[in-house]
Every structure is written in C-alpha cells, then in structure tokens.
Symmetry: C2
Subunit: 397 residues, 2 copies
C-alpha cells in the first residue's frame, strides 16, 4: 500500500510505508468496498430502468411531434433532487451536476431518434457546396431527417437547372470569398418561391447578394459550431431575416428541432459582434500557436508540468489548428473592418513592449487593474464557470 | 406546450403550435414522468447510502493513516460499472463520467476530513508572508492539519529571532522580486536543521539564495494553483531539490496527503518550462483582455451570441483578471530571459500584419498548415479533451 512518487528518478514510498498497517487496513476496508460495489451496481440498474422510461417518452413525443427539450420540466426535476439531496446531507450542487449530465444524455438520445422526422420531411433541399465539410455535415442532417437532398458542387454547374428544379430550399455552404458570386450565379435557376439561405460566417455581403438576386424568401444563417460537433444540442445558430420570414419559418423550426437555439439579429450587428467573437479570438489563438511553433517549444514536456487550466488553454489552441485552414483564414480576414481591428490589436499588443522593461511593474499593475475593474462582475462569473470546468478536467484526465 | 423563440422581438411558437395535441400529450406523459421521478428519488437515496459507507472508509483510512486516492481501486470500480452499463444497453462512457464525478466528490470529502492529521502534525511552521493570499492559504492548510503555525510579516522583523525559535520549517511566500533578499535576511535566525522552502514561481534565484544562506535542508516548491483553488486534489506542485532531500521528505508527503501531485525537476528546467507555461500564456491573455477594454467591447452582448467555446475562452480571460495584479505582473516579467521571450512574441504577432492584407489568404493558409502539422497528434487529444469540456459547459450553463 502507500503512494509511490518519483523523486529524482528513484521511487520512494510516500506515506504509510509500513506494509503491515497497509495490509490490515485493506482487510478492514474489504466489506465496506463490497457494500459500495453493491450500491454502485444498483445505481447502474436504476439508470438502465430510467433509460427504458425515457424511451417510452421519446416514442410518445415522436408520435405527437413534441420538442425534446422541456426547460421547465428539467428545472422542476432538478429542484426536487436538490431538495432531497440537502435533506440527505449530500451536496445539492453535486447532485444537480449528476442529474444535468443524465438529462443531457437522455436529450441527446431523444434528439438522435427524433431527427428522423423532419419539420418538412420530403421537401427538396439543394446544398450548394455539399461536398465541403460544413456542407456535408448539413447534407447528412437533412437527409437523416427525411429531406430529399441534392448537392451542387464546382463541376455541377452544367446541371444547375435540373438540380434546382422544384426545390424548396437552396442552402449555400461555400467559402466566404466566393459566396456572393455563387449566389448570383445560382439565382436565375431558383424557383421564385424557394427559400434561399446561406451559412457564411459573415452576414452583410451574403444577405445583400441574396436579396439582390432572388425575389423570393431569403434567410441568412450562421451556425456557431463546426462539423466536429457531434450533435446540435443547445448549439447557437444566428439568423438574419432577409425577406418573407414566414416562408422560411420551417427552416428555423428545423434547426430548433435538431436541438439548436436560434438567435435573431441584424446583419450589421452580427458582423460587428463576430469581428470580436470570431476574428479577434481566432487571430489571437493563431498568433499564440504560431509562436510556439516558431520557437519549437517542447509541448509534451510543458504538459507534464502543467496545471489543468494550462492544459485546457493549450487544448483550445490545438483544437483551433485542427480546423480547416482556408475556412479560418477567411473568417479572420473576411472584411476590411475586420482586418483593421486586427491591425489595431497588433498595435495594442506591441504597446506593451515598454511594460516589459525592468522595473516597470508598477505601470503593468496599473494597466492590469484598469482592465480588471472594467471586466468587473464578469470576473466572478468566469471564475465560477471555469472552476467548474477545471474540476471536470481534473476528474477526467 | 411547444417551444417559444424570439423572432425579431416578437414571440413565435416554434413546433407543435397545436395546443390540443400538446395537452393530450402532456396527459399521456404524466405517468411516465412520475415513474422517472420515483427512479430519480431512489438514485439520490442510493447516493446518500453510498456516502455513509464512504464515511466509514474515511474513518478507517484516518485511523490507519492511509492515502485518500487509490488509483487501482478507482479503475477497477470504473471498469465494473462500464461493463455493467454495456450489458444494460447504456453508454459506458457516460456511466464512467457519472462515476468519476461521484468518486471525485467522495475524494474531496475524504481529503477535507483527513487533512486534520498532518504528516508531521505538531511541527512548528513559520510562514513568511503568511498574511498574503498564498501565504494565508497555506497557513490555513498547515493549521488545519495540526501544525503550529507562526506568521512573519513585514512588521515582524524585530521578533524574527523569537518567531524562528525551534521551527521545523520556514515556508517563504513573498513576492518574487523580494524573495532572495528576504531569504538572506531570514537565514541567520533559522535553526540549522530546519527545512527552508519557498513557493515562488521562479526557482533558480530563490533556490540559489536558500542554498547560499542556509546550511540545512533546502527545498524549492512551486504550487501550480492559486489561492482560489478550493482543494488540492490532483493539483500539481513542482519540487526542486536543494539540499538533503531526506530531511524535507515529510513536506513533500504533506503535499501528497493534501491531494497534490508532486513533480520533481531541476531549477533550470523549471524556469525554462514556466517561461512558456506561465509568462507567455499570461501575457497573451493580458494583451487580449487589454484590447477588449481599450475598445470597450460590449461583452454581455457578445456572450448572448456566443458558442460554448467562446464563452469558455472569454471565461479564462475573466479568470485571469480576477487574480492578484502584482503577482501576475511579477510572474510575467520575473527574469530577463522571460522578458526577452515576450518581446520576441510581440515581434512574432506583429509579423502577421502583412498576412492581413487583402488577398493574402494563401500565405495565411500556408502558415496555418505549418503550425497545424507541427501540433500534430496533440490536436486530436485537444479535440477530445475540449469537446468533453464543451459538452460539460453546454450541460451546465
């Protein structure tokens, strides 16, 4: 018994190196461990029973076309369990966390089964760029939900007229720089009542192009997730209304039915927010990873000696570089406004050169405190959320 | 029934706007929901029973001075539950996740109760800087573990001789720039056999100063966590042996007993790794938050439209600015080598100015791919870990 740690390469016994104490304790612990095992077995049995009931709920919801996510039912369920936990001397936060996890799991299962019945199953959907990563992702979701999916790729323009015949939706998923030109090229083939929608991560130029070239319903979309997202549960989709929202309501409903949360805003506000939420953030991550690469930092070694939060931060950088290079390059430099903000950012970073001179700590502390004061209450929330995640990370890895 | 979403400020019913279908479905769901509630109640009862058994295990371990964390027992328990889950048609990964959470919770409780019996309870510990955040944190942990804790603060130097009398450990927790000078000032008062240890986040200068001024046992420590960490479970502490490791083994054991993982390395390697793991990372975070502040970005609004990953990243920035400004200023600019690396980083970021010129996407893509190739297999791991965390974030918030 006793924990063994490496100390300068040699192995040392840490704590309780007395083997006899260890063995007698193990004997004494044995019956308790058997009892705990029995309880754990019952826990899993109950989870399996719960799963059966949830299956029945799914069948019912499916028959009645009810939504998967039912916020007030979930909150009610959680409060009951929190109360019971408190009375039983358990930590209610921890019990809540366990039940949130169970509920999410059942929501994911429900979504996976319910998607097969699309909001407008049978409708014809043309995915332009359907062989790309995002295009392929949504083609699969549409197809699984019972839509008739057609794909228009670079080589298919000679067949454009046939591909567009009688379609209910043209869904544009092509690289940002080509979006307006492809919309113009496609528009003449579209039935007038067909919904024209795009999923580009900027919205002003594409929505303008769609409104200018198609007289029918227009909807700008921007799903805030990538093709690596295994399901759309609670993922955000930004929607910019173009023309005739009632005619494209079914598409919004389809995203809701896939589990997404649809948020509506104007193209201008979308692009302004995204220049920060996407461009600045991605550029900062890019520059960080680029520097690690340029200096050929031994990452494995840094991870050996890293706190969970460093691991998490480096993980975000790794995640970024696992994405599609052209997509991210175009997100970062999509518009002149965006490029101007990033140049300002570069200048702002460089401003700190003098803070790094020896003995300038005071100025640095002053700047730090100004930013901290401005972040204000958001800091508390950040700490709560990130502490929760760090604990998850510690638990798992 | 039916989900309600905002569409341009007006409320629309999404899916199942037919109220009658909704009501009849609710009636049909009712008995199933009651059954699920009953199962959930039993789950919480079992968790409470489990907790009672764990209490008994704690009492036994405490009596026998056994370690809290028992990796092979945990892995064994997890495999049994995974197997049972698979047989019952449940997702074994999800069941593993639930049990890891339950195990962690019980480990935290165990640690909280066991710390009261210190590895060398009764020993006299002088915490220099014990009124500071980190100093106060460790003073509490030592005191709770039965040590006799004394504190030496700025005003206490006239009593230094009395405070140092018969101490077993002098534990230095003062700002980085003052560390060597304070060590020199303290050393003449120390009993020769007393352990001298510091927790500064650089190691070469402090360990050199300790070796030069104290003839007895010397140990450099660097806990990779801050005073906001509620417990030390699996948190990393770097240890740089100075002199006579056998004499300070009990201190290493004490950290293990508090739940920390102690990693041993040389002062040179420590400082090299930390210039990246701490200084570069903190500086990059600082520069990012500083820019948001300078541009007065409406953060609340960006959060309304943010993906879980953005929320997480911004949360890390918020967390950073909630920390102690002088501590982070000194971590960032602790040594000339560190400052040189950060200046290189600034230059590297600025190098990207030309990548942001219009039409330079190709060059950007090329650079992106070089970095991505170098990140290599680490990307996969990052995606697994961060996907797991994003799911947690979606679940909770």
């Amino acid at each position: 018994m006793g924990m063994v740690h490496a100390w300068n390469g040699r192995k040392f016994q840490i704590m309780n190196s007395d083997n006899q104490t260890g063995q007698s304790a193990a004997v004494a612990l044995e019956p308790l461990r058997r009892e705990i095992d029995a309880i754990d077995e019952q826990l899993v049995n109950l989870l399996a029973e719960r799963r059966q009931r949830v299956q029945k709920v799914i069948a019912l919801k499916q028959a009645k076309n009810l939504p998967v996510y039912h916020p007030s039912r979930e909150e009610d369920l959680i409060s009951k369990r929190r109360e019971q936990a408190s009375l039983a001397g358990l930590d209610p936060d921890h019990v809540e966390e366990l039940f949130r996890s169970v509920l999410r799991q059942s929501r994911v299962k429900q979504t996976a089964q319910i998607i097969r019945t699309g909001v407008r199953a049978g409708a014809k959907v043309l995915v332009v760029g359907g062989a790309g990563k995002m295009g392929g992702y949504f083609s699969r979701w549409f197809a699984q939900s019972g839509y008739q999916v057609r794909i228009l790729e670079v080589d298919d323009w000679p067949n454009a007229a046939a591909l567009c015949r009688d379609i209910d939706l043209a869904f544009i998923s092509v690289p940002i720089p080509q979006t307006p030109a492809i919309i113009q090229r496609l528009a003449p083939f579209l039935p007038p009542q067909c919904v024209l929608a795009d999923i580009t991560s900027i919205k002003q130029a594409p929505v303008d192009a769609m409104l200018a070239s198609h007289p029918g319903p227009v909807l700008g979309l921007h799903p805030l997730f990538g093709p690596m997202t295994s399901n759309m549960d609670k993922q955000i989709v930004m929607a910019v209304p173009g023309r005739d929202p009632a005619a494209s309501q079914w598409l919004v409903d389809q995203f809701s039915s896939w589990g997404s949360i649809v948020e509506v805003l104007s193209a201008v506000e979308h692009d302004e927010i995204m220049s920060i939420v996407q461009a600045l953030r991605h550029f900062a991550t890019f520059a960080f990873g680029q520097f690690l690469y340029r200096r050929q930092i031994n990452m494995a070694r840094t991870l050996d000696f890293s706190s969970p939060i460093y691991r998490l931060e480096l993980g975000m950088v790794g995640r970024f570089f696992a994405q599609d290079a052209p997509l991210y390059a175009s997100i970062i430099s999509a518009t002149p406004e965006r490029r101007a903000i990033l140049k300002d950012f570069i200048a702002s970073v460089a401003d700190n050169r003098e803070l790094l001179e020896e003995g300038n700590t005071e100025k640095f502390v002053h700047e730090f405190k100004s930013v901290a004061a401005w972040f204000g209450p958001f800091c508390d929330q950040s700490i709560r959320e990130s502490t929760f995640l760090i604990e998850k990370l510690v638990e798992r890895f």
